[in-house]
Symmetry: C2
Amino acid sequence: MLPVKIAGLGACLPQRIVTSAELEHTLDIPSGWIEQVTGVRERRYVTHETALSMGAAAAARALDDAGLRPADLDAIIGASSAPHQTIPCTAALLQRELGAPDGASACFDVNATCLSFLFALHTAAQFIHAGVYRRVLIVSSETAQHSRNPRERESAVLFGDAAAAAVITRAEPGEPSALWGARFATYSSGADLARLPGGGSLHHPNDPATTREQNMFHMDGPAIFKKATRLIAPFLDEFFTQVGWQRSATDVVIPHQASRHGVEQLTRRLGFAPEQVFSNLAVRGNCIAASIPLALAEAVAAGRVERGQRVALIGTGAGLTLGAAALVF
Amino acid sequence: MLPVKIAGLGACLPQRIVTSAELEHTLDIPSGWIEQVTGVRERRYVTHETALSMGAAAAARALDDAGLRPADLDAIIGASSAPHQTIPCTAALLQRELGAPDGASACFDVNATCLSFLFALHTAAQFIHAGVYRRVLIVSSETAQHSRNPRERESAVLFGDAAAAAVITRAEPGEPSALWGARFATYSSGADLARLPGGGSLHHPNDPATTREQNMFHMDGPAIFKKATRLIAPFLDEFFTQVGWQRSATDVVIPHQASRHGVEQLTRRLGFAPEQVFSNLAVRGNCIAASIPLALAEAVAAGRVERGQRVALIGTGAGLTLGAAALVF
């Protein structure tokens, strides 16, 4: 149990709203199919916004929410599925964009696709508990539409663009906030089930052999769902045993907003009541690494999560990796 | 002071050796210029090897060196300047490539360009000290030649391809090994001095506006050297004060093999004797994130670093970030 807290949260959504009806029209999909299959009614797409501009805006709001200034940060962690540029890391660009002073913070990125924020939260908590850093900013910002594959109907309509940020600090004596524990496990037999082969060194953008297709996201949704369904029950059993929580004593479950099936899986099969589970999937889509912190920020803003409540953040991501974190907000 | 140790080290070099004479011929550079200016006599370039295949080979050797098997790992950290694929993270692909069992390890990547290994080492040490993980594999693997910019003579000839890996475990009672401390600071006023704008969301590979030039590395070597020179003296003063070491009591300094100037800077200006500083720059070039762990692995293999000795790992990276770690090997 680490006495750390999420001192502030912030989000940034691109202005443009794209309805499922609009996508059904442009992608020649039967009317009503998208919401019925994926659970997404509308999502946002960037126009002039970038992953960096949205990330910085979300970060500024998270700092405001925490009552801190950029100069108060001693570490900045970029936690998205893809960087803004390959070099330097996105966290360094965020330092500059926020006007955080030169030399006052250590900047690095953490990447585990959809679970990047959870890994970064777990990492930040260790550093804060050890006294290495006192105030850590985590920023997840995604512009998934650039990698959309119009030929893969389900994934093409599932994703939305968004950014979310959190400021992590030590919990002061008397404050209930804490990270009770986190657990992650990667099952790489499923490494090909969600993949974006391009953008890295395997299919370098300048390699004439690299295809447009390789720079798009590919997902076998049913296979991921099947594999995750088999794995997540024992994974969560061990997780709740490890942190010593009862599922019923969890105030709010914030799942990664993977898909309708992915979110419903948690309630139907895994022992939570529907009213325990928060979802913004219908209006945000799957925002990859930004999904969990965005849902948390919106749950807090809506009064669904209050200080002192028990929150479980649970998700699956490419890898295939399962992750969960238990915190008292 | 964290009682953790580098239990095993491994490296993998591509087969093809590229001499500076060969590059001078192909890039129309005066004979002798490359070694004189950059200090690099030869470097390796991948042909059939990939970042993943080299990373897995280095990891297998690091596991052997530690007397461990892939199944013993409970976390794998990819720590390179660019991923193998954008999705999933390289660590998940390494789990599969190594034959490490499904579900037994948590996989994520850490990115801070040339300092990725140092950030990952600091992160792994926190997790091991906290008892979250017991045996963490860190893998840095770089295939820089894909992003070489033939129009930037100095950077085009500077980089080499290589992989290196380390297995981090708890130090047993009675063992001298420890991470005494680490320090990082990012100065993002220098964020544009070393950059690779493409490969991420800002200039997506499929965006028709993305140019070949944007997918290449750009570096203002003299400006980086000037800025780093100004910053590193006070940075290292604070670092050595923080860890409580005298420079003269440091057995071996392993600098990031940035360039001849970068390596010489440490001795000439910063208070180390030439015999304290290990360099493989002449035969490896700058291997980005793999530079520091590769130099450490080669220093250990050459008998230059022995168990119980004090080692300082020091580097600069894109960001601009300075980093240093003090460990008893």
